[in-house]
Symmetry: C2
Subunit: 506 residues, 2 copies
């Protein structure tokens, strides 16, 4: 994918580039009268923002404020993700933060205990949403929509024991793309995998792999190995742990805790330790036992078709058919997938970070029907980008580089070296604002020039407009470039045009 | 403000323009082989999306889903508002949806009953945030920040009796800008008023006025008229109703319900019916009774200075000193303001809409100190844009025009007139996506060409790429312009470049 998301990729690289830029060179050439002061301005240092305290003033357990620095990173990442969703024709949708409690019941299996309920203050019983998928299904059923391609970025809430070091919070952002509707097999499913590839490539997080499996293959596999149907679910969640614990431990859990016969466990073991490309799908289709099972056969047939489409999309080499992938949620009915980073990028400054999966999803053909009184089914397939984990990776990377990032977008600062120039500064800055230029000044009647220039260096503001008695007399304005400390006089009436010219060049 | 926010204004005008565009002319000129089919495509009609039903499937009382149409309008409006906040140097901030319950107590006076509490599921007692101001003050105190200029866009929740017809919901979006810090008087306050003007002008909602008053003037006025201090608050909320009910009714409430002496009420009446420009401030400064009161004198002095700055900003004529403006919230301590639309724009198609205030704010110098254990004060001034009301106005306007708006941004549709061309379509669309082009296709093995072209007209997709046997043989692609129905053959290898050229021209 040499040209993938070219524009966004460039913007992102520029953003990352900003972090890696060496400290600004201190160039002391100046060509104007304020030079003595200007040379005294030192390159600023970032002060620690958050001091620990033992006060009762805090955010609720498992939640946090997002600082301006964090907001900048989030905005960039979310912009990239959303622009990819829009590239694939998705519409935006928003749903309330809370739903009727009954809408969320029987959707999340044993995780239902993690749902936040609202206090009964009279009226309806309400719960905070636990994900964006169930509200989407409720929206489709409620509006009797038979198809829709939508994205949704929003907060969800889960009362988990917060292990904040891993980037897990009780309030976190989800970023979902889903395709609802009855279509020919595997076309929307393949597009979902393409989207994950585009986003993870675009974000330049390092090499990644998408594990793919199908719930029908797992069910078929359990059946042919002789797992009683009542145990399917429990065995499925044991299997799901294979990316964290060894086969030996998983086997022990299945036999000792879930009462599976050891020989059945061993047969499962032979299968779930397999992973590979389309050739593994072919191999399983030839498997004398699996091919006898209708469900497994359907799943394998669909996976074969999926790989064909993924090859046409040029992403087959990123996909691994992995029989151990099970996915936690109850509502999946077909293809499931999960993207993992293969390693953090090899950069000496970075500490290794265990990030787990960074995107996941699958097909859920029964969920909408659960909301529809006539039980009408709307097949769905979708994906969720693990943006919180991605935020953590990028924030950690930034910390490793120890570089400051701009939290404002101010382009021009309006300064004066003289006392009693507030009126002129206010007139001038209003002119800039009215021309759409991002501008700031200090809220002081008589600030020191040093303080003003220091502020610009601190905040990374590229241009300073200086007005003093001399300028007023001559009908000019001094325009200072902060990086080079170069200053030029510009006719007052040309100021806005000159600034716009410089900003469009940079 | 002739050049105000030029770029954004243009974009906005283009958006509004889209709504007012006459129906697409049905041009039937075609220059290629698919013309027979193309001519059969009819201009599409918008189907009603939402059907009423009596099901239990619903969103909680006072809340609603936001449809793709509504999301588009919101995104445009919020983009304009946020870009103005950034133009004034604000940083982004986010806080959790819920706070410790105790953080919200004693902040909202009699409105505290409207706070949503979470159920006690073990652990902390939590409440959904009621506004963005209190969390901001909590953030400043918690992080011991002495100054900050921030904006925050987020949902807040209030258990009000929903009168949905007026656009009031229990879940709604707030859009705040605040300046915290000890600065020279009235400079940040004037900037807040400038921001309101820029945003309301930029949104082209029609003529507006910003009423300004000062809590200290109100307090001084009550004192000199002989209102007992214990009644200040009650009288203040009666005064606050003057924009909805007549002076006669307000007077009755003050005398009959709040036990004010009739002659005191009449004295208040003489004052609160006054409004005007800076000359009224001068007049009040000369008022023999008000000028005896220290508080009123301070407030009037500050208003005089404020008007001086507003004149320099070129917005003084938009501001009205209005002694009846009181504002509901407890925490204001100085200047207060509220922007109202003077009328809906005079357009025959539109029904008049009572929208009330569309922006408001003021100075609150004591709130941060309430969170600080040592009581350290951080003076603050800020504003909130009434985006929900603005959304309602724009949505109503759109409804009046009866015109469809695009809910996707898709630029190119990949179509085929032949059967068994899915593989070619998938290869082609991946090429477009990888080049950053927004593209869609139908998820069908063998869709009809008519269906495909109909989809493009329906969705407002400007370009169609058509691949069939003829094209495959000749190594070309047919590029069709949906509006003109013109078709040209383009070499396959030039396709991406040609599309990018056309998109950059349009």
């Amino acid at each position: 994918m040499p040209q993938l998301g070219l524009l966004h990729r460039r913007a992102w690289a520029a953003f990352l580039g900003q972090l890696r830029r060496p400290p600004r060179p201190v160039c002391i050439r100046t060509v104007h009268s304020h030079s003595q002061v200007a040379e005294a301005v030192l390159t600023s240092q970032l002060k620690p923002r958050q001091e620990k305290s033992n006060f009762i003033i805090k955010t609720p357990k498992g939640t946090r404020d997002l600082s301006p620095q964090q907001m900048v990173v989030r905005e960039k990442i979310l912009d990239m993700v959303v622009s990819c969703f829009k590239r694939h024709g998705a519409k935006g949708l928003d749903t309330p933060a809370f739903e009727l409690k009954e809408m969320l019941t029987e959707k999340y299996g044993e995780d239902s205990g993690l749902i936040y309920d609202l206090k009964d203050q009279g009226g309806e019983l309400l719960s905070l949403r636990y994900d964006l998928t169930v509200p989407f299904a409720r929206y489709l059923a409620m509006n009797k929509l038979r198809k829709m391609k939508r994205y949704h970025v929003g907060k969800v809430w889960r009362r988990e024991s917060p292990t904040i070091v891993q980037g897990r919070y009780r309030e976190f952002c989800q970023c979902d793309f889903d395709i609802a509707g009855q279509f020919d097999p595997m076309i929307p499913d393949a597009e979902c995998l393409k989207i994950i590839c585009e986003i993870l490539s675009g974000l330049q997080l390092g090499d990644f792999l998408i594990k793919v499996n199908d719930r029908r293959i797992l069910d078929g596999l359990f059946a042919v190995c002789g797992v009683p149907e009542s145990k399917f679910h429990g065995i499925c969640s044991s299997i799901d742990k294979l990316d964290k614990i060894s086969w030996k431990d998983v086997r022990h859990e299945m036999v000792a805790k879930k009462g599976l016969a050891p020989e059945v466990a061993d047969q499962i073991g032979d299968y779930v330790q397999c992973h590979g490309g389309v050739s593994l799908v072919e191999q399983m289709l030839q498997d004398p036992r699996l091919s006898q099972n209708k469900q497994a056969l359907e799943g394998l047939g669909d996976l074969k078709l999926l790989f064909e489409y993924l090859t046409l999309f040029g992403i087959a080499e990123k996909i691994s058919f992995d029989l151990s992938l099970a996915r936690g949620l109850d509502y999946y009915t077909g293809v499931i997938y999960e993207a993992v980073l293969l390693q953090t990028p090899a950069q000496a400054e970075e500490e290794p970070l265990n990030v787990g999966s960074v995107a996941a999803g699958g097909r859920y053909d029964g969920l909408v029907g659960m909301f529809d009184p006539s039980g009408h089914k709307v097949p769905c397939v979708g994906l969720s980008i693990g943006v919180e984990r991605i935020f953590s990776i990028v924030e950690q990377r930034m910390k490793a580089f120890g570089e400051k990032i701009r939290t404002t977008e101010t382009q021009v600062f309006v300064a004066t070296p003289q006392k009693n120039f507030l009126q002129e500064r206010l007139k001038l800055i209003a002119e800039l604002w009215d021309a759409g230029i991002k501008a700031e000044l200090l809220y002081k009647n008589n600030p020191k020039l040093l303080t003003q220039l220091h502020y610009c260096e601190n905040m990374g503001i590229p241009l300073v407009v200086i007005i003093g008695e001399q300028e007023l007399m001559e009908g000019v304005i001094t325009l200072r470039t902060v990086a080079s400390r170069e200053e030029v006089a510009i006719k007052r009436e040309n100021l806005v045009a000159e600034i716009q010219k410089r900003l469009s060049e940079s």
